[in-house]
């Protein structure tokens, strides 16, 4: 017996949209089973996970704060994945953005500084993320080094660099030896939008990025180039598109967006640099990108869905005494079901009996 997958040529287009919905439904179903096995009331537990994060204004603000980095990063990753560039090091580019942007805040700390500080931090953050992302891009185009490995390994480089900085040169001298930087000045923090709650300027920025990316992919030649290079590289060369230059471009864009997410997170919600600045946004954004069909609007929706699992996880930790790892289980199941639904809908699956047939 063996399993044979043959591609369906007649898969209708609406399947691409239905498949993530089925995946979400299956995830909820599996979650219910898991809670039942853990001896919890499945409905109540699912309520804590998926309803409580959207139940009131304060929770919705938290949701926006968590969804913002996921959306920013996943939009950039989608451009990479569509063009066959497998950047999976967004977590490191996020951290590098936090470091570069944080440096501006720390360097200007206490000095009389003006409204230019915050834009400068954002620019520096984007630069930092893009700079780190360019390393795998250049290695790929110049030396044909696999970008999956290099981009992933650079995550650890960035994390360790941050760890060293906040324990060493950038440690707050008045911080009782805690490994953290000084609190950023008010000018160096992202503007809050509401008096009560943490929603900040980052969320509208993410929405603007989504709109720009959606227009770019649907209407501009650049977007067409990205899709063509990924779908048919030889046809793209015939169209006169430069694959290597595009690799640089998409890595730079996705690195810059991850870096932007990093500095917004640090200056918006933490207000200082700490040894760890991300609960894994850079990796979760990979799930967001695929759940969102590598489409900017899709990433916006999927980013909210994944943000719910983050907050639901925190709530469940408090009210159900469940470990935070359950969040990871949900995210893993979601990715699994998305990919599985795609496979089942796009391929005909047949069990083929073996032995004897080849007489």
């Amino acid at each position: 017996m063996r399993i044979v997958l043959t591609r369906r040529d007649d898969a209708p287009a609406w399947m691409a949209l239905v498949s993530p919905l089925i995946a979400v439904a299956l995830t909820l179903l599996s979650g219910a089973v898991m809670f039942a096995l853990l001896g919890l009331d499945p409905l109540k537990a699912l309520g804590v996970y998926f309803i409580s994060p959207i139940s009131d204004g304060w929770a919705l603000q938290e949701l926006a704060v968590k969804a913002t980095p996921l959306i920013l990063i996943s939009v950039g990753l989608s451009l990479c994945y569509l063009s066959n560039n497998w950047n999976i090091g967004a977590e490191g580019q996020f951290v590098m953005g936090a470091i570069f942007g944080g440096w501006v805040a720390i360097a200007t700390h206490g000095a009389a500084n003006g409204p230019w500080v915050f834009p400068a931090m954002m620019l520096a953050g984007m630069l930092g993320g893009a700079a780190l992302a360019m390393i795998p891009a250049i290695l790929k185009t110049r030396l044909s080094v696999n970008e999956i490995l290099t981009s992933l390994m650079l995550v650890y480089v960035a994390e360790l660099l941050l760890d060293w900085l906040v324990r060493g040169p950038w440690r707050d001298p008045k911080g009782f030896n805690f490994p953290q930087s000084v609190m950023f000045d008010k000018e160096a923090q992202v503007m809050r939008l509401m008096a009560d709650g943490r929603i900040n300027l980052g969320t509208p920025i993410a929405i603007i990025v989504v709109v720009i990316a959606a227009i770019m992919m649907a209407r501009t030649l650049k977007g067409f180039e990205i899709r063509l290079v990924g779908a048919a590289p030889r046809a793209a060369r015939f169209a006169g598109f430069d694959e290597k230059r595009l690799t640089w471009t998409v890595f730079a864009i996705s690195g810059a967006l991850a870096g932007l997410a990093g500095i917004i997170e640090v200056s918006g919600t933490m207000g200082q640099l700490q040894p760890s600045v991300s609960p894994g946004y850079g990796f979760t954004a990979i799930i967001v990108a695929f759940l969102g069909r590598l489409n900017p609007i899709g990433c916006l929706i999927a980013g909210v869905v994944l943000a719910i699992t983050f907050i639901g996880g925190e709530n469940a930790q408090i009210s159900l005494r469940l470990p935070l790892d359950v969040t990871r289980v949900f995210q893993g199941m979601l990715l699994f079901y998305v990919l599985a639904c795609d496979a089942v809908l796009n391929y005909r699956i047949a069990l083929v009996r073996t032995g004897g047939a080849a007489a």
Binding site: R219, A232, A235, A236, F238, A239, A350, A358
Partner: protein, 512 residues
């Protein structure tokens, strides 16, 4: 005794793709040990029908009978178990694996590679199809790759062998080898269902034929009793005229000049260009003949700008050194290009026709304004190409892969010719195109040249070059012969050149 029922029979088979009727109540019957031709224009529904017989597509309506008994096929594995083998036009082989590993993967058993390798050697010897089981596929020519697919089918002792346009990718010598194999296969008691647009070879090897037009059967005949012209007439429903070709009276100025072009192939198994020189003048069709794999791909890549020359001056368009310019810069100078490979090179399979029009025309056709795509303009352009070149397509703007092979070819040629280029470089312009459409494309190439463009045609089809070229040269091991006037040229002379006679001794040495 009753006459034996046919080996396989299709009765009133209907296949719909949305609103399109690809097969409209088709009846087909193939007798035991018969070599049966399936003929029809591009898009007539031939590939669709044989995919149904191989279990790859499910019919919308109709029944299949095997030796008189109804049966159905859920997938190709069931077809193979029944003894139906199929060789596709585009092979599905893994380049990095060996011949034996590829065959072992495709067989429905779990035999060890070593055993498969033994059986493969045995079968290939028995049928006179030389194949080394241990060689990697990327080292093999197209003909050898096709041999793998044929041997794979033969290893399962088929009762019916289906071949979809097997010879359109083969050199004349390889075709002869294939015909000899089919003789053997038939002698072993296997029937053959054969699709081809080359009517002369159909007349030679097939005993009966079913002719499709617009998805319907329009006739059955014995091709040996027909002429190529009468077969073509049945397919199209009217007479097919050969391309009209006036003598070239005045060749214009030199439009494309190549001098001393040497270019190492980036592909380790490719052919490097050596000291290539040629001139194409405004107003003429210039042919490049040659056996596949002698540097045609590299020549196309160098002339189109997909691969840059080492020195700018080795390629000149209208006297301007363009060797270091990319393909879009050359398009802006009036160049247009049609590569050999339709799917994946000339067109992206999963992209709509309008997007494929955008791909080759974004620099020249005004489809893009300030970075923004004008979708309406691309769709209008598609409609113009479709009308001018009679491209039969189902929906308004289908994906390239939903077009039949020949109709896609008409689209990618038409897309370039309609731009009125000053220089057109086209490789295998009528690959897998039916007689009527081939004549349309050839006429368009001649007309383009007569309107003042320079046309360079790279083709393995000598008949085609003799029909349309004013002058031709032969490519051999990356070198190009001096040009010959087609008028008064003997085919034998070209044949000798294609075999390497007359080229510098060192070129022939490298061949050895």
């Amino acid at each position: 005794m009753l006459p034996a029922p046919p080996l396989i029979e299709a009765r009133t088979v209907v296949k719909r793709f949305g609103a399109l009727l690809a097969n409209d109540h088709v009846d087909l019957s193939v007798a035991e040990r018969e070599v049966h031709a399936l003929l029809g224009e591009n898009g007539a529904g031939k590939s669709t029908l044989v995919k149904i017989l191989y279990g790859l597509l499910q019919p919308t309506e109709g029944t299949l009978l095997w030796q008189g008994a109804p049966f159905s096929l859920r997938n190709p594995a069931e077809a193979r178990q029944r003894g139906i083998g199929m060789v596709f036009q585009h092979f599905s082989l893994f380049d990095a694996l060996t011949v034996a590993e590829n065959v072992a993967l495709a067989l429905d058993g779990n035999e060890s590679v070593a055993r498969v390798s033994d059986r493969l050697a045995e079968v290939s010897r028995a049928y006179g199809l030389p194949l080394e089981p241990g060689r990697e596929v990327w080292r093999l020519s197209v003909g050898e790759r096709q041999r793998i697919e044929i041997v794979r089918c033969l290893m399962q002792s088929p009762r019916l062998l289906i071949l979809d346009e097997p010879t359109s990718v083969l050199t004349p010598q390889e075709c002869e080898g294939l015909f000899a194999t089919l003789e053997r296969v038939k002698a072993e008691g296997c029937a053959v269902l054969y699709i081809s647009h080359k009517l002369e070879e159909v007349r030679r090897i097939c005993e009966s034929a079913t002719i499709l037009r617009h998805g319907k059967v329009v006739g059955n005949c014995d091709p040996r009793q027909e002429s190529a012209a009468s077969l073509a007439e049945m397919m199209v429903g009217s007479k097919v005229a050969p391309a009209r070709h006036d003598r070239l009276t005045t060749a214009g100025e030199v439009r494309l000049a190549v001098t001393g072009l040497s270019l190492p192939s980036p592909d380790p198994h490719g052919t490097s260009l050596r000291e290539v020189g040629l001139e194409v003048r405004a107003g003429e069709v210039f042919g490049i003949a040659g056996v596949a794999g002698n540097g045609q791909d590299e020549l196309f890549a160098a002339l189109s700008g997909e691969m840059l020359a080492e020195a700018a001056g080795t390629i000149r368009i209208d006297g301007v050194a363009t060797g270091r310019l990319g393909i879009n810069a050359r398009r802006l100078m009036g160049g247009a290009f049609v590569p050999e490979e339709r799917l994946g090179h000339a067109a992206a399979p999963a992209f709509r026709l309008s997007d494929n029009a955008l791909a080759s025309g974004h620099a020249t056709n005004g489809f893009v304004q300030r970075g923004m795509i004008d979708r309406a303009a691309t769709r209008v352009w598609v409609e113009r190409v479709v009308k001018a070149f009679d491209v039969r397509k189902g929906p308004r703007d289908p994906e390239a892969k939903a077009l039949s092979g020949g109709n896609l070819q008409k689209f990618i040629v038409g897309r370039e010719i309609l731009r009125n280029p000053r220089l057109l470089i086209v490789s295998q312009p009528t690959w897998g195109v039916d007689a009527g459409a081939a004549s349309l494309i050839r006429q368009a190439l001649i007309d383009l040249s007569r309107s003042g463009a320079a046309v360079l045609v790279i083709s393995q089809d000598l008949d085609e070059l003799f029909e349309i070229a004013d002058r031709m040269a032969v490519i051999f091991h990356g070198r190009i012969s001096s040009p010959l006037d087609t008028e008064g040229l003997r085919r034998e002379a070209v044949g000798l050149l294609m075999g390497g006679a007359g080229f510098a001794a060192d070129a022939v040495d490298e061949a050895a």
